[in-house]
Symmetry: C2
Subunit: 399 residues, 2 copies
Amino acid sequence: MTLRQSLPPVLRQISVRAAMDVLLQEGPTSRATLAKKTGLSKQTMSEVIRALEESGWVRVNGIVSGKVGRSAITYEVAEDSGYAVGVDLGATTIRIAVVSISGSIVHESEHPTGGRAGEALIGHMHDLVEKCLHRAGIPFEKVLLGAVATPGVVDPVSGHLALAPNMAETGSLDVVRRLGEALGCEVVIENDVNAAALGETWKGCSAGLETAAFIALGTGIGLGMLVNGKLVKGARGAAGEISYLPFGADPYREDSLERGALESAIGAQGIVSRYRAAGGGEADTRQILEAAEAGEEPALSVIRETARLAALLIVSVDAMTDPEKIVLGGNVGRHPFLLSLIRAELPRLTRRMISLEPSALGPRATLIGAIAIALNQLHNALFSPQELPSEMRLPQARD
Amino acid sequence: MTLRQSLPPVLRQISVRAAMDVLLQEGPTSRATLAKKTGLSKQTMSEVIRALEESGWVRVNGIVSGKVGRSAITYEVAEDSGYAVGVDLGATTIRIAVVSISGSIVHESEHPTGGRAGEALIGHMHDLVEKCLHRAGIPFEKVLLGAVATPGVVDPVSGHLALAPNMAETGSLDVVRRLGEALGCEVVIENDVNAAALGETWKGCSAGLETAAFIALGTGIGLGMLVNGKLVKGARGAAGEISYLPFGADPYREDSLERGALESAIGAQGIVSRYRAAGGGEADTRQILEAAEAGEEPALSVIRETARLAALLIVSVDAMTDPEKIVLGGNVGRHPFLLSLIRAELPRLTRRMISLEPSALGPRATLIGAIAIALNQLHNALFSPQELPSEMRLPQARD
DNA sequence: ATTTATGTTCGGCACCTTGACGAACTATAA
DNA sequence: TTATAGTTCGTCAAGGTGCCGAACATAAAT
């Protein structure tokens, strides 16, 4: 079931890649049109398809007739030839999705963490993934790649979790290795907000854009960015850690150094405690948002201030990276009332037109992003020539 | 003298690219070692080199003997086979460099703008470029690409100048077309700070890094970023417009909307007027910096505050994009006293290790960056297969 | 029957590789 | 000094792979 038999038949790999690309993008296609779209000759395409069919990645889809001329045999990516698993490993919820190699979601489910952490959490996730695969009727061997999205900083070199604020013990454990052993395939890990950014750019409201940002406002706050179609991860995987932007609260305070100035202002905890300080009593962010929308006073000004600070954040993101669109997500960020307040605030802070929208995928954004990562990685591993740095490097400075 | 005779013999192009890449990176090389480094066979390499030699891009460099075995003929990129021109079109200074295709600088010079602007400025630049080429003894036909770096927002779609704060009239004029006509070749344009970021990453103190940031503090303030080795330009070319970050001054003020809150605080004008307001009288930033270093009081606190705000900026950049290194440039930013103040301030604002360094190229950073852009573009145009999107896209969302 | 589009067969070409070999040079020992 | 061994460079010849264009067979609508 493997495609590359020996080493570089580079040219064929390029052709295979081109064919798969069209098949994945546009669904069932005949060899003739495939040839047109890729620019390859018809009979090269026949050979490519034959190889793909023999190795099982592609199968006959049907016969298209009704148009003038000979009816065409269309081919499609064989759904059941391989699967990827995406996991959104959150603080309170684990979401799991199984996706076929062609990109359709076969199974999606949501489970409470039940307060588990560390080793117990990883074990639980492991059990859940197994259960999902079983329920979807997919044998383990068919799972070719896994992606886990989780809060925390992911080391871009090792791919391991370096710092997981909301999952205290988990940090040191090797999530990747554990799940990899269980699934018997490669597993990659990514920051949850980065994944969400990618998710929205795949199937959400920033779909198809090359340059987009996703801001999550919730328990924690975070930023995910795509530049030139790729995630911005940062040298140490800490890109998008906007908690530490130096406004919203006094950046010199101990608390700001610890949790971040901005997060202590507009993170969930910050909102709750500002509400309490304003005499609003005990309430969670949802309740405060609802009270604010109803016009109740301590809540309204707390949320107003939250919106004001969020607007500052948005203006900052826009100034630094000029995304085509900024998507607001997270439990707090998604709330329409907050969004309307932020939208009203923006023109007071900038003359630029900022395209701001609420997450279209809602709580699923991170999960969809995890799937996207897994799928993309899988497609590249299977169908892309491995070594081809097509851009030239700058000449070595030798003077 | 052109390489691609007809349509894509893709495979050969890949081989040519590989050979040129090694020759450019490592200088004179024999065919045998070239074969080893590229992984191609000696035979193929001989053919590739023959083609490159016949078309004039490569020539014999010499004979290496003294080692065991037959002595080798080494080949090198033919310096005089093509040139690129880089221009730093600043507000007060025009810098021009001519660089050979192999990356060595043939001619570099600096000229005052003499207060010219708009059409007059462009004409002047044009004359200067001609003069430089003449002085360097390079015929026009040998110039294959030009790159202009200039303040202002460069539209990534059209490549044209959209907004040039320090060159009022110039904005509407078509710099690219004018110089292109004069030189008879393609000309690209880029923001000056972006170019400087690239320059430092080519030959400066962030050399070789994939992820780096350059902050220019001077007449204006700006940020250039490289992520995954590529410039971050933004959807509308406005990435790095940190003037508009909402701190340093009240972001709601009319002035902040116009010129940007942060720029009105730590841009040259802002520093000068804060100094004046503190009773320091008339002085330019250089004088204020010197006075501050000498410990004179109104200057010292003005510069202290500038350093404090610059530190906030640096922490913001670090939080958002986590670069491996942040380089400080510009007339103000390069000053060692300011740098030491900023370095002292950083630990009070963050626990992260931020690698901050002064520009190694100084006022040449933008020019070197312009050269880098021109060279890279040229190499890709000449020696890289044109159509090869090696990364696979995500499948179209079809559900 | 004509037209039009699909898919296959065939001949040819471009490119790459392998293995063998001659050329050129150093090192070493008689 | 001279011969011999060992190493590396570069070329030649043979063989394979993959691509293309053209011609052709196939199949369906008009």
